[in-house]
């Protein structure tokens, strides 16, 4: 179940990169100067960092450290 949820989360974020909803609009200017399409993708980077944080918390391959000892 956890694997399925994480896979869905990754796929959802990948799909969210294709933000056709802001395709043709520059307004509103976020903070008065950042076109909305650019602000969206800046937020997208933060969301990617959040997803990676979740992955490291719940799906970290800790066994690799053990298995790698020669």
């Amino acid at each position: 179940m956890r694997t399925l949820l994480l896979t869905l989360a990754i796929l959802a974020l990948y799909a969210a990169h294709q933000d056709i909803w802001f395709w043709r609009s520059a307004r509103p200017l976020v903070f008065g100067f950042l076109p909305v399409g650019l602000a969206y993708h800046a937020l997208y980077c933060i969301a990617a960092a959040g997803l990676m944080w979740v992955l490291t918390r719940v799906a970290w391959p800790a066994h690799l450290d053990e298995g790698s000892r020669r």
Binding site: I10, L13, Y14, H17, Q18, D19, I20, F22, W23, R24, S25, A26, R27, L29, G32, F33, L34, P35, G37, L38, H41, A42, Y44, C45, I46, A48, A49, L51, M52, W53, L55, T56, W60, P61, A62, H63, L64, D65, G67, S68, R69, R70
Partner: protein, 514 residues
């Protein structure tokens, strides 16, 4: 001249870091291949994060991204930055950690060593080595060219191109020669800190100089010619989607795969994968935004010339001569908009520090030189009996000699060949490496993959890179970029050819269970 003096001081610091790294490894460790090529697999968490990020940031990040945004608008960030912010950490998480573990367990120092062992093959590994090396060399040449051009620009022409290229090549060669992976990683860490400072400082200084960004954005929105730069209406969704395949290339670049082997513990990947998207945000957002904002600098004569050239191109008749069109394109190109903005708005001393930031970006070829040297000594010299015959110390010396030969070769080519050829080669290499990422994924996650499947992927990638480079528009199916069919066909070939051929022995597969 002040900026040039500051840049020379920066080069001296970088050189010192490399030599300090040499002293840091004791006399006993100096003759060991793992110490020279992989820093003894013992890099700490901060150096691992900052250096990995710095290794992946090239001149294009600062100069090229701003130039692309100057011509194409905010779409640059979505095309190149935010797609990388998701895909690169994911590949580090799933592929990088497993490569690290296999390297530690079996002593691998290059991806080809792993492929040879995993698929029980010899010469097919050599084919993959040759392909990886052929696609990596243009980067090294571009680095030397960028160094020459940047020093000439920063010194106002006092340092000629040939001398600037020679100085940069000599500095890079010296710290890679002496410091190996440890020196390169420390220099990259220092450079990443400069990158991060560069973006923030440049943004604040230029914003103040321009009288605030809100006014600049409003003026761009008011003009019909520049308003589309603030949205993505000129780019097709299929083209935009294609770019999400390009970051797959990162993990397949040998210098990145090899760098994954340098971490002391797998836990060091944790911080790296979390902070990587934030580092991308911190560096790319200012560069892209400044590139777009440069369109509002109509008072600056050099920017005005670029805008006029762009207008002429847009209204040019189809009958315009190719040479004339190419000259207009060069004039309209925006790779130098950030330096122009700095000259316009930053004080001299600050322009010097920021010039050092640009030099840091230009000098990213260090890890590629070291990776190629590691690959040559491990995949060719050691594999074909050199290590067994002459010993490990000679292998390390061979690696150092290779660094010198490669740098001198890159410098001589940089003096004679036009840059456009290598710009193109680098562009196609991204698609090539994305296509080669199938090798890593199959080796790590598909038991049934075989050496013949790997050979099919390598041969297809070599053919596709040459074909798309020679035939404009080739493989650009359904409005997608060639990288999509290249990668999908690679995966299909791996599946089909592997299914038809004999898998590796059960004993080998057992060693790859994780």
């Amino acid at each position: 001249m002040i900026p040039a003096v500051i840049v020379f001081c920066y080069l001296a610091i970088v050189l010192y870091i490399g030599i300090f790294a040499f002293r840091r490894s004791g006399p006993a460790a100096r003759g060991q291949a793992e110490d020279y090529f992989l820093a003894g697999r013992a890099l700490g968490p901060m150096v691992f994060l900052l250096s990995l990020f710095g290794t992946n940031m090239t001149a294009f990040t600062i100069l090229g991204s701003a130039g692309h945004a100057f011509s194409n608008g905010i779409v640059t960030f979505g095309l190149m930055a935010s797609s990388s912010a998701l895909v690169i950490p994911l590949t580090l998480f799933f592929v990088g950690t497993r490569m690290w573990a296999l390297g530690k367990r079996h002593g691998f120092m290059t991806p080809v060593q792993m492929f040879r062992d995993r698929w029980e093959c010899g010469h097919i590994g050599t084919v993959i080595f040759a392909l990886q090396a052929a696609m990596l060399v243009p980067y090294i040449i571009i680095g030397v060219m960028g160094g020459g051009a940047a020093l000439r620009a920063i010194s106002g022409g006092v340092v000629p191109y040939w001398l600037g290229g020679a100085v940069v090549a000599l500095v890079v060669m010296s710290y890679v020669f002496f410091g190996g992976m440890r020196g390169t990683a420390w220099v990259n860490t220092f450079q990443t800190v400069l990158f991060l400072s560069f973006g923030a400082v440049a943004l604040v200084v230029i914003a103040r100089g321009m009288g605030g960004f809100p006014a600049a954005m409003e003026s761009l929105l008011d003009a019909p010619a520049t308003a589309p730069l603030l949205s993505r209406e000129r780019i097709s969704p299929a083209f935009f989607f294609s770019y999400t395949f390009i970051p797959l290339s990162t993990i397949a670049f040998p210098h990145i795969t090899i760098f994954c082997l340098t971490a002391r513990r797998v836990a060091q990947f944790k911080r790296t994968v979390i902070f990587y998207p934030l580092c991308i945000l911190a560096i790319w957002l200012p560069c892209v935004f400044l590139g777009v904002a440069a369109n509002a600098m109509t008072g600056a004569p050099r920017i005005q010339q670029k805008l006029e050239a762009r207008q002429q191109l847009a209204s040019a008749p189809a009958s315009m001569e190719a040479d004339e069109r190419a000259a207009l394109r060069r004039q309209a190109a925006g790779d130098d908009v950030v330096p122009i903005m700095l000259q316009q708005y930053a004080p001299l001393w600050l322009a010097g520090i920021l010039g050092a930031g640009i030099m840091a970006a230009v000098m990213a070829s260090d890890s590629q030189i070291l990776a190629l040297s590691t690959m040559f000594t491990e995949d060719v010299f050691a594999y074909y009996g050199g290590k067994a015959r002459f010993g490990e110390a000679v292998q390390v010396q061979t690696g150092r000699i290779f660094v010198v030969i490669l740098t001198v070769f890159a410098y001589l080519v940089a003096l004679r060949a036009p840059q456009s050829i290598f710009d193109l080669a680098v562009q196609y290499a991204f698609s090539g490496y994305a296509s080669l990422s199938v090798l890593l994924l199959a080796a790590l996650f598909w038991k049934r993959s075989t050496k013949w499947g790997a050979l099919a992927v390598a041969l297809w990638t070599a053919f596709a890179v040459m074909y798309t480079a020679r035939v404009p528009g080739a493989l650009a199916w359904f409005g997608l970029m060639p990288v999509v069919p290249m990668t999908v066909i690679s995966a299909a070939l791996m599946a089909l050819v592997s299914a038809l051929t004999r898998p590796p022995s059960a004993a080998t597969l057992a060693r790859y269970r994780s």
